[in-house]
Amino acid sequence: MKMTKIYEGSYQWIAYGRDQNKPDNIIDTNQYVVRAANRCLILDPGGVELFAPMLAAVLNHVPVEQITDLFASHQDPDVISSLGLWDQALPKAKLHAPALWEGFLRHYGCDTIEYVPIPDKGGVINLDSVELQIIPAHYLHSSANFHVYDPHAKILMSGDVGAALEAPGAPMFVDKFDAHVEKMRYFHQRWMPSNQAKRAWIERVRNLEIDMLAPQHGRIFKGDDVKRFLDWFEALPVGVAI
């Protein structure tokens, strides 16, 4: 598992991905960790297959008792099918996940972890002194879907938005935006159902100051590439399989 610090201040953001031992037939995912003084949040912890390598990787940065919070942007298996295992490993942790999906996500097993339902309008996650905003991104692609924005680090964890289907071992950051577009087009056109939802999200996100847009698949956008991505996404018709 590749580990990349993407923000370093009084707390840290770490990206995990490109797991070499992952079976070829499951989609590669990025997991993000926000590490505060005594608590740590894992964003989109990943699928069952990824549980052991992901936990082992996180232990490079925090002891297990400080993994106190999990966040699931939506209900997909690549996001959170590992829940039943985290539930056994982190009996006192909290899972922040869409309220709408609670009855569904509990199928993975959620007996000891506290399910903290996120209402449709979003909310906040307080991690020691770090305050993270939960931004609605409904229908992108899931009907109850959230992103996490850190106004201090200026990072937006954008779930499946900004995702790219990459060859194994691809770099963590977008270097040539124009070339990267081709790896994103199909994903967004086919998985994202609603142009209306897309426009509402772009409008919301354009009001945020973003240095890094960090998706769950593919590469992270930095600096001007964030704006380029928003412009590109705005112009892209989605929901094309009808």
Binding site: A56, L59, H61, V62, P63, V64, G84, Q88
Partner: protein
């Protein structure tokens, strides 16, 4: 214990618990058939009056046996549902233990790798506890199944008596004999099904 066998073990446990549910479902059906046969026999015996005098108390008895079997199987069904949940539970705890061990191995050398050790131990204890619970319920279930065998055995004895009574019922002989026959068959089926349940369960317990 090797973790791969744990997983296989879990799989065969799921299948076993499933097949028990299927066998018990069949037992219920057959027990219902017996009470139907008893009702039928009662009607015939009523028409035959004096000729089937000895048959009347037998039909009541058959009916009682069917009822008792149904009640017992109902209880067992509840227990076997619980057994299914315990199997799920055991599967989850065993899987978590296996994966936590994997993570601990992978985290060797990580700055906080050691912090996981207590969780691995806790997962192991949890796994063993749920295995213990499972085994306890299996032994409960075995006892309950033993109890179901009793009315089935009694029904066979009664079926034999019925045949004798039927032979003295003149023109009703054939239909009463058919009743005795169907009770006997049904009891035999229940007996066999329950026997299969028991051997499936015993295999699970022995395999551990």
């Amino acid at each position: 214990m090797n973790m791969r066998t744990t997983n296989k073990q879990n799989k065969s446990q799921f299948i076993a618990v499933d097949s028990i549910a299927a066998e018990l479902g069949a037992v219920m059906e057959v027990a219902k058939e017996i009470s139907l046969a008893a009702a039928n026999a009662k009607a015939i015996a009523f028409r035959a009056r004096e000729k089937a005098k000895g048959f009347q108390p037998i039909t009541d008895f058959i009916n009682e046996l069917a009822k008792e079997t149904l009640e017992l199987v109902n209880d067992i069904n509840e227990n076997s549902l619980l057994l299914y949940q315990l199997t799920v539970n055991e599967y989850r705890t065993a899987d978590a233990y296996r994966k936590l061990e994997q993570a601990a191995q992978m985290a060797e050398g990580a700055a906080h790798g050691k912090s996981i050790q207590a969780r691995v131990e806790a997962a192991k204890i949890k796994m063993q506890a749920s295995r213990g619970q499972f085994r306890w319920h299996v032994s409960q279930l075995l006892n309950q199944l033993e109890a179901v065998m009793r009315p089935a055995r009694a029904a066979r004895v009664i079926a034999a008596n019925s045949r004798i009574e039927a032979s003295q019922a003149g023109e009703y002989m054939q239909s009463l004999q058919a009743v005795a026959e169907s009770v006997d068959n049904a009891a035999q089926i229940i007996h066999d099904n329950v026997q299969r349940c028991r051997s499936v369960l015993s295999i699970i317990v022995i395999a551990e």
